[in-house]
Symmetry: C2
Subunit: 107 residues, 2 copies
């Protein structure tokens, strides 16, 4: 049995610009650690740490393939952010959506 314990909050994981950028990289295609770190000035070790945070948030998944470790995007946790955001949409959208929200919630 492989218990996947989510140690890191997804909001925390996407707070860092580098981590958001890594997600964008992985959205296109899966990449090895070396390939990912080649895009940045910082050391490969630093990138690995970011990948660990993203992994602990469930946003990426790394699989060993020979001597490489290939990471790919797992966007599911982002639904939590979306749901959180949905609540606030009523405040910036138009009056109609505000009305819609109020009616739906019988306020």
């Amino acid at each position: 049995m492989e218990e996947v314990v989510k140690k890191v909050d997804v909001f925390q994981a996407i707070a860092d610009p580098t981590r958001r950028d890594v997600l964008r990289l992985l959205a296109n295609k899966e990449r090895s650690i070396a390939e990912i770190s080649s895009h940045y000035d910082m050391s490969r070790t630093a990138i690995v740490k970011h990948l660990n945070v993203l992994t602990d948030a469930g946003l990426v998944n790394g699989q060993k393939s020979g001597r490489e470790k290939v990471y790919h995007l797992q966007p599911e946790p982002l639904t939590e952010v979306k749901q959180w955001l949905d609540y606030y949409e009523q405040f910036w959208n138009n009056k109609l959506s505000r009305l819609k929200f109020l009616v739906e919630n019988e306020e």
Copy 2:
């Protein structure tokens, strides 16, 4: 002239659970610092720091009213988060939205 300089990234601002909770409090109605901090175990000073971060991200606005300072929600910066999220929606929604994205982007 009052130049409002956005010093804090909105992603960083919403990374903290307490700050997200404060936003939720202010969504209902505007509240003074004392009223906000009464909801939490931590000191009022700590809450003020969180409010400063939220202010620097443009998510809340505090106005002095007599000897109180009343904060209210300013949700506009959240649109940046929403736009960022929109890109990833293609990956978790249904096949149809994936298709829609591909067609729209002529991939």
